[in-house]
Each structure stands twice: as C-alpha cells, then as structure tokens.
C-alpha cells in the first residue's frame, strides 16, 4: 500500500508528516471497519433507530482511534 507524499519539495515529507498520513489512513480504515463490524453486531442484537446510530458511531470512533494509532506507529517505524 503506497503512502502518498504530502509535498512536492526537494527534501520530501518529514517523518512526522508520514506518520500523520498513516494516522489518517488508519483512522479511515478503522472508521470503515467499525461501521461494518459494529453495524453487523448491533443489528444482530436488534438495535434500531437512535440506539443503533449511537452504538455504531461509538464503535467507529473507537476503531478509528485504535487503528489510526497503530498505523501511525507502523509508519513511524518505516521512516
């Protein structure tokens, strides 16, 4: 999975820039996976309406935060 370069300058992106990009990608993946798996679990428990939205939303943010943190650390290792 290639990480896009955040700038077009000669020196290239700094380590911190790469980690930020890694966190953003990880956060998006975590949000998406939280939506898929959290939605599946919530629907299986029979949640509907506002309770469903709250539960899936919380799962999405949790997944995004966790996965984003791990992706940022992984990107930092590769700098």
């Amino acid at each position: 999975m290639p990480l896009p370069t955040s700038s077009f300058s000669q020196q290239g992106p700094t380590c911190f820039d790469k980690m930020k990009t890694g966190f953003i990608i990880g956060f998006c993946v975590g949000m998406a996976s939280g939506a898929v798996f959290g939605g599946f679990s919530a629907l299986r428990y029979g949640l509907r309406g506002r309770e469903l939205i709250n539960n899936v939303g919380k799962t999405m943010v949790q997944g995004g935060g966790t996965f984003g943190t791990f992706m940022a650390i992984g990107t930092g290792i590769r700098c």
Partner: protein, 176 residues
C-alpha cells in the same frame, strides 16, 4: 505497510515480522499503559507503578500477536508473489483472508471462515483507502485545463447580436 520501502521476498518475512512486533509492543504499551494508569489505586506513584506493570505484562503478548500475524501474512504474500509473478493489491487481500483463517484454526472451521472474511474485508479497506489516497495526492499535481481566451469571441459579437438580420428581406417579401 509502505509498499516501496519493503524488502524483497524472502527478507520481507523477517522484516514484516519485526516491524509488526514493534508496532504491537509500542501501540499495545500505549493503550495498556493508559488502562493500567486508570485501574490503579489512588495516588500518582501507585498509578505510575500500575501503568508500568501493565506495560511490562501485556506489551510483549500484544507484540507477539502482531508478530505472528505479520509473519504469516508475509509468508502467504511472498508465496502469492512467487506463484503469480505479480505484485498487486489482490495479494494483500488474499493474504489477509488466509492469515485470518490460519490464525483462527484452533477454534474450528466456523471461526476460521469468520476470521478469514474479517481479514479479507479489512485488507480490502486498507488497500482501497491506500489507492484512494494515492489518487487524491496525485490530483494535486495535475495540470489545470487551459483557459479559453476571451478575445477569441470578440469578432463574433456583432454577428450574434444582429440575429442574422438581412435588411432587404422584408421589402422583398412585400413586393412579391
């Protein structure tokens, strides 16, 4: 994860295993440190001690899990690269599914299938979002559309505004 900085196979297996272990240790240490801090008794000294104890206890276990996942994933990925003679996102997606299935094999066939699906879906999202971000970054460097020169339309202004008028048309019709 960053594709162009990975070692070629088979060194990639060792590299990915080590990288995954560090990722698990650092990330797991981060979260377990927070959890240990919150679950410790009152007092800053005791909370810090609880945090350190949790990191020391849990971090290697989490790192080991990540290393196992990374190693199996990389072995399957390198095998696919060898057999297909191709490196593309499908290798990662299939590797994610196979890794999920293998590592859940102790829990039975149903758990294997579930974990394989989860692994495949997760890697699909990672690859998909990676491709999307690459496109987004490339878009910023695209050349703009050339501007249409406004002077080019000046010569046709009178022609358009007159409405194709022919001065003698009405008189000719009246005559006939």
């Amino acid at each position: 994860m960053e594709e162009y900085s990975r070692e070629p196979c088979p060194h990639r297996i060792v590299d990915d295993c080590g990288g995954a272990f560090i990722m698990g240790c650092v990330g797991g240490g981060l979260f377990q440190g927070l959890k240990g801090f919150r679950n410790a008794p009152q007092g800053l000294g005791r909370r810090v001690a609880g945090s350190v104890a949790a990191i020391k206890t849990k971090s290697p276990v989490i790192g080991g899990s990540f290393a196992a996942w990374g190693a199996v994933f990389s072995i399957v990925d390198c095998s696919l690269v060898h057999f297909r003679q191709k490196e593309d996102p499908w290798n990662s997606i299939v590797s994610g599914a196979v890794t999920g299935g293998i590592l859940a094999s102790r829990n039975g066939a149903a758990a294997m299938a579930g974990s394989a699906i989860i692994g495949g879906v997760l890697l699909s999202m990672i690859e998909g979002l990676g491709i999307f971000f690459t496109r987004f970054a490339a878009e910023q460097f695209r050349n703009r559309e050339p501007h249409i020169m406004p002077d080019a339309n000046e010569g046709y202004g009178d022609f358009n505004s007159s409405g194709f008028g022919f001065p003698g048309a009405q008189q000719a019709t009246a005559t006939s």
